[in-house]
Symmetry: C2
Subunit: 171 residues, 2 copies
């Protein structure tokens, strides 16, 4: 009974909706030209997508006019954007990827994530940030690990600094 990503939007329409949401935040209204530019598609494709989104009642759309989100569209778009931001946060601040790469991956992966996975990830990231056993120095250590692997010599003083003795090897 796991609920699929969103309503019944294709990945593409999700992208259009998200873009409209961002453009609205950026400049009150979304224009076809800007949507096309942001998504790197032709204006013709935008026209088609807008018609589809209007049919689903997610945008207010009169030909030759501006586009705004309906209330329902806004809710869905906000949820899509949230998925995007959380994934990007994970890639950028935990996996420590470059902002652009983090964003690209978030953009491609966000459509396949269901809401349960999202909430778990949110909790996980919260916990990583809040649990006193983990912390910024831990993230820094992860960064080191990425470059050089686990070095028991570096591990010892680290453990001493939090007052723990070396554990038995796990698994």
């Amino acid at each position: 009974m796991s609920s699929k990503p969103a309503e019944d939007l294709s990945s593409n329409l999700e992208d259009y909706l998200e873009t409209i949401y961002l453009l609205e935040k950026l400049s009150r209204v979304a224009r076809a030209k800007d949507i096309a530019a942001r998504l790197a598609v032709s204006r013709a494709s935008v026209s088609g997508a807008l018609k589809a989104l209007a049919d689903k009642g997610l945008i207010n759309y009169e030909p030759y006019s501006y586009v705004t989100l309906t209330k329902q569209g806004q809710e869905i778009a906000k949820e899509i954007d949230r998925r995007h931001c959380i994934l990007r946060d994970f890639f950028q601040h935990f996996l420590q990827m470059e902002p652009q790469a983090a964003d690209d991956n978030a953009c491609r992966m966000e459509h396949g994530m269901d809401s349960q996975a999202l909430e778990r990830l949110v909790r996980f990231l919260e916990f990583l940030r809040e649990c006193p056993r983990v912390g910024e120095d831990w993230l820094a250590a992860f960064n080191q690990y990425c470059q050089g692997g686990m070095d028991p010599k570096r591990c010892k003083p680290c453990l001493k600094s939090i007052g723990q003795s070396p554990p038995a090897p796990r698994e």
Copy 2:
């Protein structure tokens, strides 16, 4: 210069290739019927996909015969399967989702993940497993947190157990 997911396969063809790979492991060869069943598509769709994969040199395919992966196909399929397994591992063992839900999400998200993100995730999971500051009890604590939130009262004895004093709030 971030390398996109795999060769130049669509998500769908990646799924077909992965399925063939798994069926080969399971029973030496893959049969159209079984591919169709596993992916829940018609045999007609399988025929089309097999033709496409054969065109790309990823499978050995004679009409009305069995399907096997070529060397190149095998390499790509193995990589796809690896992405899948790592994501599933993350969802199941770290985000502590049910196996089926973990697998479903992995299946949908694997296609959008580039190799850099994958390697970072691998390192991250390795580090979570190996770093002595984290551990099984930490994962159990995360599980508790998922159900009840961060409880400072529960935090204190936990910290004491690793000999650390409560930190100043972070962020």
